[in-house]
Symmetry: D3
Subunit: 341 residues, 6 copies
């Protein structure tokens, strides 16, 4: 908020943005007389978190030139994300409809993103050299290639340009089975090529099992082996991070944060999360928290701890974005639950 | 409500349904933290009105098999519309985003209906002989052909089957310039072929100018001439109806209802409409009111009067549907403004 | 608000209280997913207005000993009305359901007050001598006798006790045709006996036509004659007051306030009322405004003017109560429309 | 949703419908500026659940011919319940006011159903032979006789006609002590005569203790004995079902479902239910789930399991109705808590 | 509610009132498009609770003569608190902004009370002899002296006048570190002088450590010793009460109530509080519950038990006030969680 | 929205920002259970409008380092205003409470801005040379000096630095009598010194009468003379602009826009404004519209016309900001009222 934090780096986030339309808590979608509106998208969520934490974060995406596209762009601006590289193009605004779960009823998402401006944008529209100039990190995810062939090409080109320019690459696996199924494949080859460009991967044993073609790694209990196999297969990979989540009820989870370097591992938590407000975007909040640590040069333990606190914080905030300040996340990390006056 | 009204007929309404997502009154879309949700679609609006007025009304459409499609179907059921002929199919739910106008700022609609289940449905899915069996009227509109080639074929087949079966055909011009522009044509030929099947047309001088290829008829002051030209060109056409609207402000209109038979014309109104709540669907409410008159065998004057009262009533009700009862519409027609206790 | 106003008198208001459940603006009752809740009742409305204007006002009624009854009692207390004489008794809380009108659609009220604690209360429960001790005015209305035989007896006893004690009596005709119809009579005899006890009557030509058995007085244009006939028939009657309302639309009225003394008459207004928020209780607001003038010893003109301003003010406030302060009503009377900073 | 489910049967549900007016969560009734409105009634809740699960369900009741009555009827139609046998009649709409509980504060219900159209309807208005023609099941409850002598006669006649026609009878005890107290008796004789007509009873040890005149069965630990005594006393009784509920807090329960046949018993659960949204109607959701199993010819285990999942699901949905689809209930039964995309 | 409770005493509560502006649940303050408004203040909270429990409670404070001040005064009246001694004066209305916590994110309060009418009021404005005439108790807190020097003098004068008149004095420590820090001291001397006037102190080991200058008493495990030291140091002190709270999550606490007399101690609870709605004002609810016991002459055990039940109840009610009735609090004390019909 | 507009200039806006807390429409402040929150301030309103119109706009102000201050800053960012020169400082966030008027009841504003961070900021904190570097315009108002001596010095220094740097100065008189009264003077001398630095003044005859010490100019009918006197007295003054407003009701106005150059004058309108949504900030919207014209080098007529259309548009938008796009304002200017699809 104030100018007292030195800003450690500049991160470019690239991916699709979506508007979320949610039924009110405790109601099924057909019971709703109104839907709550917010903006999201995995990579935008990371951008917002990092901007709130004092980093210079820029978003790269394509939005329709309409009131809906403006909503998404303005939401980034509100939180201090630079939108100079947000393009307008033909096509729809991607939407998703959320029915928040309760008790033992899981949350349900109906995607309505086909034909979006992002999915149909020509990869040549992104001038990656200009965009990445002066950046220290690039953040992308495995959702973009799942959305379509054009974004798949764009994301790979972004990663390769980053590496050529010495910009570090953060990659969140974010496997979306239903999107790949709609494309008639499992995406393993494409995702492997992306993973090969990452310095930091937010990915777990199932992601590695897929891209390494070793399904047995996903069968349980082989998490450490999967990480080691990933480090072996992807020589540029320096860090791997993920959360472990145990669900007692739809609104009661236990959460740990894990951050691996080659030959070292930090585990933070577990945190007991009760009366969860909104779990959408908690993985992105974790990613942003870990990135904050690495961008500031903090150690494994502290980065894992802060990433987990950021993820825990997000469970208490409605919407896709973790808009909490550093001080608020530190308060969660400290464990104090008293009213702060 | 009670069983005291003899039910004069059975009407089949065919067309696309849409979910409407509206910004709250007095707010632009990007100011909205939630959007109000309701169901609409020109032909469905007519079906709901007529069901509320005691007619047997059935809807024919294609909806996605999703929570969004269910919302549309259930909305019909709520108001007593028969949904046995509502089909499920692949594709999206058509949406539109409404920013209600105020003062001198016009209302704005952003359509998001491309790729809908209705627009992409194979016309062969509709078994028109079975659907129209026992019906007295079919109601369709010029929106369906504007939506795509497949619906264009379906609506024409429906109209021709109706005529073959002796079912009367009601057709609402509802010209949508932007949809036709997106298809690269003005639709005149298609719309002419539809108009040729209609017993009753909700259409005005601009519609007739278009389908008759006589643009001069739309230049003002030639309304009567246009209607006569239409009666001349379309021998089956028995009635033509439309409203005349003068707008003093976005929420202040003056409205007349006009109903022509060959050689006769009734004009109802004008009504002064202040503090308008919602003008979407007022044309459909008028159509339903006129249809009610004709289905009950009422005269021109009474049908025009009831149609205008129904349209006026709809201006006072939020949402696309005119869900008012016959008694409530009669109260508007009577001109009494006192609190009814 | 402050203690700077000398308090001119103490008024006792007696009548039934009701909870109002309203559909949101622009929606029919069946469209409502929630109903707005407020408290009302003609006599309670007068009590609240006068308490807000700095008078000592006490309410006498019977409420059920339930959360619903508590809502009504607490609403009085909020506005400074004394509730020491509010009794609890068996029976229901009276309710009414309001669908606010719009454009040309009139507001609709569905009463659900049968079997209420007030309607079924034994008149012997009210100790009128104690209640009226120290009071300067009693205010009652013609609704109470319409509600049932027991309240009819109670209200007459209250009026007669008041007169015996030298307490002035204010009576609002408030004719409710549907309630009398449900009792199988028109109430003329009962209402005449009440009118005979009044010092001040809020009543117009139709009320007088009824109680005087002279229906021709209500046929229009004979307002002055009706008032003179009332003064002739009811020797104790000192003042007659009413509003004249011309309705251009459901939310656009023109309003005048008329106050007669024997041989003198003041007419205030007209006021043009646009975009009316809530017209329920505007007659009670007028009554309170006129009573304020008479209780303070103001002249006819000023009392009529203040009564009309109070009525006009109420059209801008949601709910049954006119909770405006004297300063706010004076601002309306002054005609200034600028933002007050 | 789609036509793919064969519809196994047709069920007639008979009972009173009520409108529910609820304070918002976390507020006492007098704190509420608005009340949430929904429709309920034990038997209607069952009808809606079964219609949502693909059965043909019809409601039989009497509603007032008013906007309030229309709300109740339309709510049934929304969910696909047939309303051809819903009658209009004189009398009020039954209401109840709900203050939802929280933490250790129990939920509170204030009934306001005296004088309802249902309670005062002449039993001769129901033509049971016509209504039950073609049905496979009748569902009634012990609330109807508690509401009044007229409904008591109607429900018994319905049950006996059903048995005469070979329609199976489902009976939910639903003992309402306060309603019987208001009638000056405990209802044991009447309820025994109803229980004697049931093929399936939703009833537990306290119900059986009452109707068998054996209060000791309700003293705890004698559940199995009570069920056996019921099977012995009521020869037609084929199945007995109930839930066992342990309450840790107002919004934290543990729930089991029990279904007995003669000589066999299935117990499903327990399920841990946290952050409960709405527990009203959960017993009816259980009843509908068990009925679905029996109507589809499923075994004891599967019927108990599905009934319990349906009950658990209802705890996550606001309102009286369980409007969940079969797929959503199966998801609860499967135990998966992940977001469904 | 009814007049059946004998009223045991009359209590005067003195302190600052505040308006609370809260973000909706699950949202950070900058996410809020509206803020929920309610009235509070530690001493006013006690007054409201006791008035709801049937005591005569009067509030003494200074409010601005504005719509904001009126809100605070009217909120007292709603709940039956006497406001005859509420003064108007220059200065602002004190405000506070609340962001309710969730999951592991603590609630946050931003005070905006500087320059309030209360803080800047001349102590000479309070005529304590007149105010305390006929009272049995005075209730004050340690917040008043923290707010400023003028209120510090006023509260001490009130306490001393009370003691001189034989009115018992209840004092709630309510230590506010941030307010004292803003005044540049820790307040120990001032608070000691207040504690010296109290018959009943709501205070725990940290309060006693401060005023006794024995910081080691606050180091944990020395609660009993601290209470004994307080009884030794303050001869007039007859009772000491406090709660013990263990926080599992922001919305899950375990709570005990402790009440000491000289030589005796009662501990009530613990109660497990889940899904907490609002914890603000729970300490005041406890204080009012204990005061109710002492004012009614109940024993230590019963007073502690009722105080704890009142505190537990408050956790289920939105806003600062515990507006529950005696019957509702008794229901919590009884432990029954079933729906009350 | 898109990059197609060349950006004509860069404007610096300096002044206090306020949070607005509004009662819902149709309710008095004490009736509100929640208050709507938005951000405003005369100069910030201009900055937001101009940023929405495609200009580079920067805000200079001082905000508290709190969640409230962040709300104000983030609101600027949402709309694309540069916040690099927004400072944090000690002191409160300025607030104002708005009761929106209706019918004949004027809107009421209660300011609560004493002691704000802006009002108490040392003028030395603003580095005007750096801030104004590269700017083409500076916009300030007469509110800043009314707020206090420190802002008065700051605004004068800003204006003088601007003139020294060749940055044009826009000045809005915005006379606030109540703020000056609180400072014990009428501000004429101070405001004259500000007016002397302006190239463009938003000011009318009353402003000029004050600063010229010629009260007779404000007596009506001497508007032209007042403007000429201003041009004579202030040699640098190139343009004078203001609106003429006639109020028929609180929500019905007639509005003209007037723009003078030396020797030339353009009058736009009148526009009839009905059902006004929000009139706060309409003067600022006019100012921004006129500034847009001048910054783009448009003529008097076009600048006046666009300014008036912008002002008219603002009447249809809730909140202080006119967030409409150029296309939306042009639509108002065009006079078309039809739904835009």
């Amino acid at each position: 908020m104030s100018a007292s934090h030195p800003v450690p780096g500049r991160i470019i986030c690239f991916g699709e943005m979506l508007l979320r339309l949610s039924a009110p808590a405790g109601r099924l979608l057909p019971q709703a007389s109104h839907l709550e509106l917010c903006t999201g998208g995995a990579e935008a969520n990371v951008a917002v978190s990092l901007a709130r934490l004092g980093h210079r974060a820029s978003m790269v995406t394509v939005l329709p030139d309409s009131a809906l596209g403006d909503i998404a762009r303005d939401a980034l601006r509100t939180h201090g994300v630079d939108t100079a590289a947000v393009l307008n193009g033909p096509g729809r605004m991607g939407l998703y409809f959320l029915t928040p779960g309760a008790v033992l009823r899981p949350s349900e998402i109906v995607y309505d993103r086909a034909g979006s401006a992002f999915a149909t944008a020509d990869p040549a529209r992104y001038d990656w050299k200009a965009i990445l100039d002066g950046a220290t990190w690039l953040h992308v995810s495995g959702i973009s290639p799942a959305v379509g062939e054009l974004p798949a090409r764009a994301v790979l080109e972004a990663m390769r340009t980053a590496r050529a320019l010495g910009v570090k690459v953060s990659y969140d696996g974010n496997y979306r089975a239903s999107l790949w199924a709609a494309r008639g494949e499992d995406g393993a080859a494409t995702l492997r090529s992306l993973m090969a460009e990452a310095d930091l991967a937010f990915a777990g044993e199932r992601d590695f099992a897929l891209v390494l073609g070793r399904p047995e790694l996903a069968e349980g209990g082989r998490e450490q082996e999967a990480v080691e196999a990933a480090f072996a297969a992807f020589p540029q990979l320096a860090h791997v991070a993920y959360t472990r989540r145990r669900q007692i009820g739809v609104q009661q989870h236990e959460l740990e944060g894990v951050l691996h370097a080659r030959g070292a591992c930090a585990v933070a938590g577990p945190f007991d999360l009760h009366e969860i407000v909104d779990r959408i975007g908690t993985g992105d909040a974790f990613a942003a928290g870990v990135l904050d640590g690495l961008m500031r040069g903090r150690g494994l333990e502290e980065s894992a701890r802060f990433g987990l606190a950021a993820a825990a914080m997000k469970h208490s905030i409605a919407g896709d974005f973790n808009t909490a300040s550093r001080a608020q996340i530190e308060a969660v990390a400290s464990g104090s639950l008293d009213v702060r006056r």
